[in-house]
Structures are given as C-alpha cells and as structure tokens.
C-alpha cells in the first residue's frame, strides 16, 4: 500500500519540489545581486521591502529583517512556499480519498483486505514522507542559491523553517482528509476543503494588523507556521506551534478515519434522506448543450464563473495598491529606474503589475483547458465523440474557439474591474490601451493553447506536463532574465515576453505576429496529428 501511495503521489512530489527548488534558488541567488553587497545598500533594500511588504499583508506576512538574506527568504520565499505546499496537500488529500473513490480504487484497496483506518494512515504517512523530501530539496536549493549568490544562509535557521513548512503542509493534508469525508466527488471535495483552507488562510492574513484578533488567528495553521521565524536574525523555531501543527495533521487524519469507517464508500458522512422523485426518461431540452462552442462554455460554467470573479477581484485589489506601491518605488533609486521615462508611472506600473500577472493567470487557465482535452482522450470521451459524424479537425477547431471564448470572458471581467478601480483611484489609464492590453491576452492564451493542442493530439498523457513546464519556464525567464542580464535571445524565448507591456508602451507587434504564427502552426500540427493518430484507451 505504501508503494502504491508513493507511486500515486510522485507527480505532486516532482512538481511541488520543482516549484520549491525554483522559488528557493531564485530568491536566494537573486538576493545578493539585487540587495547589493554593502551594509548600506542592504539596509536601503530592506526598508523598501518592508514598505512593499506592508502593502501585501493580505498575502504574505510582514517582513522581518528583509535586509538580511534569511529575513528576505522568510518573507518572499517561505511566504509563497507555504501557499504552494498547502495547495499540494489539498489536491493530494482529496485525490487520495474522493479522487480514488470516483475511480473505484478505494473499493479495490478495501476489497483486497486493507482496513479503512490503515488506508488513511498509510496515505497520511506517505504524504508526510514525500512532503519531507520536497521540503528538504527546497531547503537544499536555498542553501545552494545563497552560496552561489554570495549571501550564505544559516543552516540551523533554514532547517527550523523547513520543519515548520513540513508541519503546516501535513496539517493541511489532515484537515483536507477530514473535510473530504463529507463530500462525494473530487470536485466538490476540493472546492469545500479549498474553501476551508482559504478561510483559515485569510483568518490569519486579514487579521495581521489587528492585535485583538490574536486569539482567533491562532486557530489558523498558517498563523502557527508564521510563529516560527528561525530564518530571520534573532528568530526561533516555535516548537510548541510546530508540534500543534503535527498534532492537527495526525488528529484530523484519525478523525477522518473514524468518519470513513462509519460512512458508505462513495457517500457522505452525513447524508440526508432524499424524497421520492419521478424518474426522468427524456434528454435535456437545454438548447445550449447542442450548440458547438456554447456547449463547452456551458459544461464549464461554474469553473468559468469562479475564474471570472476571481480574476476580477484580484484585478481590482491589485489595482487598488498601485498608488501606494508606486509612491514607495519612486522613493527607491533601485526601483525608480523601472518607472522613470514613462509618461505616467502609475499606468506603467499597473501594466507591469497587473497585466504581466494576468498573462500568467491566462496561461494557467489554458493549461487547465489542455488538461481537459487530454482527459477527454484518456478517459474515452473523445472516442465517443468521434463515433458521431464529427471530423477530427472539427474537434480541434471547437477546442480552439471554446478556449478563445472563455479567455475573452475572464479577461473582460478582469479588465472591467481594473477600469472601475483605476477610475476610482484617479489612475488615468487610456481606455483604448486598456482594451488593447486585455485583447492581447487572447493571443497569449491561444499560443499556449496551440502548443498544448499539438502535444495533446500527439501524446495526450504528456500534454499537461509539457505545457506546465513551458509556462513555468517562460515565467521564470521573464522574471530572472533582466535580473541576471541574460541575452535578449534567451529572454525572448519566454512566451510572456511576446506579450510586452501594451498598457504603457506601444504594442510589441513582432511579439504579436510571433504569437499568431505559433497559434496557426500549433493548431495546424494538432489537426494533422489528430488525423494520423489512433484514438481509444
């Protein structure tokens, strides 16, 4: 059972470790070049980071001694890593319970004589072991990055912070196992447990500035994680909080096992009685289901609504931070050069701050869609579709058009929020440029979509992995390239670079043409590959 659990969790381990290594290494390696080598330059850097940190306390804890590499890594690196590791724990735990129940695997395990309590205990133990590996690799990358960047880290402090990260990760895993006992599908389980973790996250982050809320904050595992600050000079590992986090993980798993033993496989722990309902013997009369493209939008309507609302909220919130952040940046010579020479630094910053991030989010959305396409193939839906009088090329075309329609919807939601908040805050973004910058998110999505479609039509099992790798590499090329002064041709390999900064600068037409070319070639290759390949499990 342990080996099976290990095998099922290897994808999550690889991706989370890769993310941890990238975040850890990039933050520590970049610290020296960015903060400078003199005490004065680092002090100035620390002051700026502290000022910026105050603006993002909704997401990251306020920085402690960001003038040191330990303090900077604690704030910028571990503040991000805890979110990623919690997300991994969420997906792993829901996958191990509801995901495997949906696929009939739990019945197999139970049928083979494995006890329910043992099943959950093994999954928890396996995840704890894999989480330890991921944390260890992340810490190793931090050490190497620090040493390479000329600002070595203190090993004891890093180990303590790693231990706290591991503890909060397994606590999130246990809590998710517990919540998932009440939901009956992977999607609903992930949504509910994600909601619980999000509430606990914001319970901590949104009350940071209010000392009266300290008692309530301690209910959040994220607060218990933040009580350890052993990376920062003079900080310490809060052993009590760390033990509590481990206990939360273990006890939640134990309680989940008790609930699992008292519920039906595939059912919820608390289940209301359903009244008598007449059987339905006819097909759905919803006309949208039968219309190409619209049926794709309809099938994903809930996810689309969540993406659109999420993007709008995030866009509005980040736009509301523009004025204060620009004021801070203009007072720092290091950051000032990024905004100098622009007609309006606020608009320039909004372009960098929101639209670069929006391009990343759109790429993530596209990866999700490509994963759906690959899933259609691997789960046999494509075979059933092609058993109807539908040409293979038509499948690719409909996927492309559906993706385009979805991206237009969510990008428009973000743009409306940006426009509304910018107008309220007195940021004079040109309406035409705002529309243009939003519209150019479409070729970004189609570029990723075309690459994904080509891979999905050829090797569907690898499509998500390949496209995610391309998105992550593009993002880090864009982020790290200017920092390390990599040659232009290397930086231009980033698909995000092709997007440019259309809100504050002229449209980067060569980039747009390149994206259109990749889109045409990618979907063309996808059509050819789909014609030639074999379909069916």
């Amino acid at each position: 059972m342990f080996r099976i659990a290990l095998r099922f969790g290897r994808g999550g381990l690889i991706w989370t470790s890769a993310f941890g290594v990238l975040v850890g290494f990039s933050n520590t390696a970049a610290y020296g070049p960015v903060a400078g080598t003199t005490q004065a330059s680092r002090a100035a850097f620390g002051r700026q980071m502290a000022a910026i940190g105050q603006q993002v306390t909704y997401l990251l804890p306020p920085p402690t001694r960001p003038d040191t590499i330990g303090g900077f890594l604690l704030w910028r690196g571990f503040g991000t890593l805890v979110i990623a590791f919690a997300f991994w724990a969420l997906l792993s735990a829901v996958g191990a319970t509801r995901g495997e129940e949906e696929r009939g695997l739990i019945e197999q395990w139970l049928g083979a004589g494995t006890g329910r309590a043992r099943l959950l205990a093994v999954r928890f133990g396996t995840f704890a072991a894999t989480a330890a590996v991921a944390v260890a690799l992340t810490c190793l990358a931090c050490l190497l990055g620090g040493a390479g960047g000329g600002a070595p880290l203190e090993v004891g402090g890093l180990a303590g912070q790693g231990l706290a990260l591991w503890a909060v990760t397994i606590a999130c895993y246990g809590l998710t196992l517990l919540v998932a006992q009440q939901l009956t599908s992977f999607r609903s389980g992930a949504a509910a447990a994600g909601g619980v973790l999000l509430v606990l996250f914001f319970l901590n982050s949104l009350t940071r500035t209010n000392p009266q809320m300290d008692a309530v904050r301690n209910l959040s595992p994220f607060r218990l994680f933040e009580r350890s600050d052993s990376l920062a000079p003079g900080g310490h590992l809060d052993l009590g909080a760390t033990v509590v986090l481990v206990a939360v993980g273990v006890l939640s798993t134990a309680l989940a096992a008790v609930l699992f033993r008292s519920r039906d496989v595939g059912g919820a722990w608390l289940r209301g009685r359903t009244g008598h309902r007449e059987a339905r013997l006819t097909a759905s009369t919803n006309p949208v289901i039968r219309v190409p493209v619209l049926r794709g939008l309809w099938e994903q309507r809930i996810g689309l609504a969540v993406w659109a609302i999420g993007l709008a909220v995030l866009a509005g919130f980040l736009t509301s931070l523009v004025n204060t952040t620009v004021a801070v940046m203009m007072s720092n010579p290091l950051f000032r050069r990024y905004l100098q020479g622009t007609a309006d630094p606020h608009v320039a910053f909004l372009g960098l701050y929101w639209f670069s991030f929006a391009a990343l989010l759109v790429a993530v959305f596209t990866v999700v869609q490509v994963a759906r396409w690959a899933g259609d193939d691997l789960q046999g839906r494509l075979e059933l579709v092609l058993a109807r009088p539908v040409a293979r090329g038509q499948v690719i075309l409909e996927r492309a058009l559906t993706l385009a329609a979805e991206v237009v919807l969510i990008a428009a939601a973000g743009a409306l929020a940006v426009a509304a908040v910018a107008a309220a805050d007195g940021i004079h973004a040109d309406a035409g440029r705002l529309v243009g910058a939003t519209a150019l998110l479409l070729p970004v999505a189609l570029t990723f979509g075309a690459a994904g479609a080509a891979v999905a039509a050829w090797l569907p099992r690898t499509a998500t992995t390949v496209l995610t790798a391309a998105a992550v590499l593009s993002y880090f090329l864009q982020e790290l390239g200017p920092l390390f002064k990599w040659p232009d041709w290397v930086q231009n390999l980033s698909l995000f670079k092709l997007y440019g900064t259309p809100l504050s600068a002229p449209v980067f037409w060569n980039g747009v043409y390149a994206m259109i070319a990749v889109t045409v070639v990618g979907f063309g290759v996808a059509m050819l590959a789909m014609q030639r390949r074999e379909v069916g499990r």
Partner: protein, 307 residues
C-alpha cells in the same frame, strides 16, 4: 443483398503476435452477426478499425460501401456505436449526456425514442453520470447507440453489467432493430448470448478469424459440465454408453461428465439410478474453444466457412 460490413485482409499488427491479422469478412445488410472470441483475441481491435478510431497496418474495411478510413464522417452517420467501456462524464446528468451526444450528430433529437428506450431499460436520466451503477452506465450506452435508429449497430460486449431482465430487454431491442432492417455487429465472449440473438457468428482467436458459421452449425462444439448425485448405485456403464457423453468420472455417489449436443441420451441413462441432485453448467467460451481446438488437435486453424 448488399454488404453492411466488408473487410479485406484487414490487419492491425501491434507486434509480438498481438493485433488482428488478415481479416476477410462480409456481413450482409439486415443480419445480426456475433463476433466471438476470448479476451485479447482481437474483437475490440476489429471494432475500432471499423469505426476508424485506429488505422490498419494493411488491408481495409467498408461499411455500406464507404471506406472506414477515408470516409469516417459519412460512415458514422449510419452507425450506432457502443464502446467496450463507457467514458466518464463526471457530473453531467444522463439527460445532458444524451442531449450533448445527440447534438454532435446534428438534426432533431427524437425525444419519443429516447423516452421509449429509457423506459424499457428503466434508466433514470435525471441521475448524474457518476451516480450511475455499472449496469445503468451500460444501459445509457445502449440508449446512445440505439436512439437514432441507425442502419448499423456496432456493439462491443453490449450485455456486460446488465442484469438478466435487462439482458432479455436488450435481446428484444436487437431483434426489433433486425426487423426494421438494421444490421447488428456485436462482440461477445459469451456463447449463449450470441446464441440468443445472432444468425451467424465469427470466431476469432489470437487475432485470426478461425470460423464463420450459422448458429445451428455451432452445436457440435458446445458442451456442458454435468454433476449428478445419486441416492444409491451410480449407473456408470449406462452413462458411458450414452451418446454425446464424455469424461465420465465417479466419486462415491457422485458422477461427473461432459455432454455435447442434446441432453436426451444422458437423461435416459440417468433414469436407471435414483437421482437426488443434478447440476449442469456451461463452461466459459475460452474453455469451450480450448477443448474444441485441443480435441481438433489444431494449433493454428485455417478459417472455415460453414454457413
């Protein structure tokens, strides 16, 4: 009568002796044809080739004169298809799955036909796909294959997961389709199932079609295992002498044997003793064929047309 299905030297070579080799087959329009073979024999490979899901290594196939590889869209306008395993539709309701797949076919959705089929299969389309049992998923698959009254039905192991009542309903549906002129090509590994509905049967083994026969011509390869308990003495000599009875063994008051053809001679022999219990069961198709081919001492038989 024109052919609904015609395959000529149809081959899909996966290597290592796996796949389908040199299939020559003609199924006339209006026939119910059973495609029999043990697991891994090449039944699903044949069906996927006919449906244009996979490409042949050599040879080809036509459906109503249309090339399965070059004219897949035209072919599928004429076909109702049930895959061996229905895909996952997650949270979609049965009614939405029906509407979605009907939309891909275009034209008007015949709600009356959907109602008729769902009613006779006792399938509640209100339920979400993930809430359906295996048998109900199979019923949904049957509904999707039958609902547009296609000229050709290609069904891969159609009765898997159905309870006996619904199996009977399915046999009736096949019979009705045949009466309205449709052709049915169904794969199975259960001999008694094809016996219920098929007029002819093709037997595939290790990727090669080894026999095409009318159902009545297959009786010579069928047999049953019989166990009989006696109150007193076992009339072993009379049983051994009975026509079609083989492999007779006696253990105390229990006699076991195998019977080919009818049961009449065995029952007559059993009358000579006092029978307290009798069990007869049909061996699996694989067992039948293993016995048949072992008896025939033929490890690589040539195709035989018996019809």
């Amino acid at each position: 009568m024109s052919d609904a299905i015609r395959a000529k030297a149809l081959t899909k070579d996966y290597g290592g002796g796996r796949g389908l080799f040199d299939l020559d087959l003609e199924v006339p329009a209006g026939e119910v044809f059973g495609y029999l073979g043990p697991n891994g024999a090449g039944k699903t490979t044949t069906i996927r080739l006919l449906m244009g899901m996979i490409h042949p290594t050599r040879g080809g196939a036509e459906i109503f004169g249309l090339d399965c590889q070059r004219q897949p869209v035209e072919v599928k306008k004429l076909v109702g298809y049930l895959p061996g395993e229905l895909p996952q539709f997650g949270g979609l309701r049965g009614s939405e799955v029906v509407s979605y797949l009907a939309g891909l076919r275009g034209g008007e959705l015949d709600q009356a036909e959907v109602r008729r089929l769902a009613g006779r299969l006792q399938l509640d389309l209100r339920l979400r796909f993930r809430e359906l049992s295996r048998g109900n998923k199979q019923k949904l698959g049957l509904l999707l294959a039958f609902m547009h009254e296609p000229r050709l039905l290609i069904l891969d192991e159609p009765s898997g997961g159905l309870d006996p009542l619904n199996q009977q309903e399915f046999y009736l549906m096949v019979d009705e389709a045949r009466k309205r002129g449709a052709t049915v090509f169904l794969s199975s590994h259960i001999l008694s199932e094809v016996e219920h509905v098929c007029q002819r049967v093709g037997i595939i083994r290790q990727g090669r079609l080894v026999q095409v026969a009318r159902m009545e011509d297959l009786h010579h390869i069928r047999y049953h295992h019989v166990e009989v308990d006696f109150a007193g003495e076992v009339p072993v000599e009379a049983v051994r002498a009975a026509e079609g009875v083989d492999k007779v063994q006696v253990d105390g008051h229990r006699l076991t044997c195998s019977v080919r053809g009818g049961f009449g001679p065995l029952l007559a022999a059993l009358n000579r003793g006092e029978v307290t219990n009798m069990i007869s069961h049909e061996p699996s198709l694989e067992e039948v064929f293993l016995t048949y081919y072992r008896d025939a001492d033929s490890s690589d038989p040539e195709p035989v047309e018996v019809a």
